[in-house]
């Protein structure tokens, strides 16, 4: 290799490194360039430059990707120090909604993989993916509307409770059970869409209208009847009663216990629907990969709750409510002929999960972050405004 060529390669490598390095590290690119120029032996200078390129390029590329990711989720959640992976993990865990979005998307994709392996009609896959888009669209639209204030929340809660009661009275029936409404040729389960958000919202702010809404929802579950959703109410409110006992929670808990008892008395003989019910068991019979996809998807649903519990001590009740809701739905799906949320066929749970993210804090608080592993200065985090949950 000629001397000129080696020096040109050095120059090229240095330029590539300088072009890739983020602004705060640009000086280091110059440092390597100047250092290489000071090495009299061209071969050694080339080796020195290529070594530096190999050592710094991954960091430079990661930093660029991080910048793009930060622009999507908010650049203030990144710290200048710390490893790239830790930065991404920290960013995700400091944004519960963003984490929920990632978990939901992953769970839906895993569910789609299961259905594809199981040979489900392509329409089913399309419905689930369509529901994901609808869920995120609603999340985006309602997040803005949600800033309108507490009045919106109370009104939305009451409206949701009314919708659940209306479903019990006027919804589509099967074997005496009225849980669904038909829209655009698709059967939707309003309780699976609305109740998770109502419960997580209730864990955050409780007042008389919110309590009345939950009690009305409990009555609706008893009337429909829906044992799975009544169990969800009971489990979530029991967890809340343990963590934040007050008169609102106690009243709602009593109503949910009565509702669940009522659903136990009434028979529920609906058969399992393929790709919807009992898939936790049947997926493993099909193929281990299908089983793992379903199991993994279901586990993802509670990840925001687990991480929120660990990182935001003062908001634990909210994360417990969120986790209890989706754990209860999963448990019901495992024990009876009830829809397997998100990973099974059905858009209601997907939309419901997306909407329930609205009730999570937008950011983990700075106080909670103080307990996080130390890897640098922590920026002051913006706080979440008053709860403003708007229901569909």
């Amino acid at each position: 290799m000629s001397i000129g060529l080696r020096r040109r390669l050095i120059d090229l490598a240095c330029r590539a490194l300088q072009a890739t390095l983020p602004t705060p590290l640009q000086a280091w690119g110059w440092a390597i360039r100047c250092e290489a120029a000071a090495i009299p032996d061209d071969s050694k200078a080339l080796l020195f430059t290529l070594g530096s390129l190999c050592g710094l390029m991954p960091r430079a590329v990661a930093s660029r990707l991080l910048t793009i990711f930060a622009s999507l989720v908010g650049d203030h959640v990144f710290r200048p120090e710390g490893s790239t992976i830790m930065n991404i993990v920290n960013a995700a865990t400091r944004r519960p909604r963003a984490l929920g979005i990632v978990c939901l998307t992953s769970a839906v994709l895993l569910g789609t993989a299961y259905m594809a392996i199981a040979g489900a009609p392509m329409r089913y896959l399309g419905v689930n993916l369509g529901a994901l888009i609808i869920g995120f669209t609603l999340l985006l639209l309602l997040e803005r509307a949600a800033r309108a204030g507490q009045g919106w929340t109370d009104g939305a809660n009451l409206l949701a409770a009314g919708a659940l009661l209306a479903t019990a009275f006027f919804g589509s029936q099967a074997d005496g059970i009225a849980r669904w409404v038909y829209w655009g040729g698709l059967a939707m389960q309003p309780s699976l869409i609305l109740l998770p958000t109502m419960l997580v919202a209730f864990s955050r702010f409780r007042n008389v209208p919110a309590t009345v809404s939950i009690v009305a929802a409990a009555v609706a579950m008893a009337l429909q009847p829906d044992r799975a959703m009544a169990a969800m109410l009971l489990i979530c409110l029991t967890a809340l009663a343990v963590m934040r006992p007050d008169r609102h929670v106690c009243a709602a808990l009593a109503a949910s216990a009565a509702s669940f008892a009522a659903t136990l008395i009434r028979a529920d003989r609906l058969p399992a629907v393929p790709y919807v019910d009992q898939i936790l068991y049947t997926s493993f019979d099909l193929h281990a990969v299908a089983g793992l996809a379903v199991l993994g998807g279901l586990m993802l649903l509670v990840v925001p709750s687990v991480i929120g519990w660990r990182r935001a001590a003062q908001s634990r009740a909210i994360y417990v409510a969120f986790g209890a809701v989706w754990f209860a739905v999963t448990l019901a799906a495992a024990l009876g002929n009830y829809p397997t949320p998100v990973v099974g066929y059905g858009g209601s749970a997907i939309i419901g999960y997306a909407l329930s993210l609205l009730a999570l804090p937008k950011f983990s608080s700075a106080n909670a972050l103080a307990t996080a592993p130390k890897c640098g200065a922590i920026d002051e985090m913006p706080t979440d405004g008053p709860l403003s949950v708007v229901l569909a």
Binding site: I32, E35, A38, I39, L47, G51, S52, G55
Partner: protein, 91 residues
């Protein structure tokens, strides 16, 4: 080893190539380490004007007070000299 070499410099400025050679590390290992040390305040860096005309300036490094403490608190586990290493290579 890089910390030990910087400590040996006893407050004198060192350059990247010389550091890599004395510490026997690749430049791809050296620079990420220097960047981290500087970000953590253990390393001081400055641009030095060339001694000869027409040569580029050079980036030079030395430990700060906290860097000296860090280096003293973390001595090399097995300080292997070049002579010992070449002997090992022939065994």
């Amino acid at each position: 080893m890089v910390l030990a070499v910087l400590l040996d410099a006893d407050g004198q400025w060192s350059h990247g190539y010389e550091l890599a050679r004395r510490a026997d590390v690749k430049s791809g290992t050296l620079y990420p380490l220097l960047i981290r040390l500087e970000a953590q305040g253990h390393l001081e860096a400055e641009w030095q004007q060339p001694v000869e005309a027409g040569r580029p300036p050079r980036h030079a490094y030395r430990l700060t007070e906290s860097g000296v403490q860090l280096a003293r608190a973390n001595p090399p586990v097995h300080p292997v000299t070049t002579a010992v290493r070449s002997r090992q290579a022939t065994i």
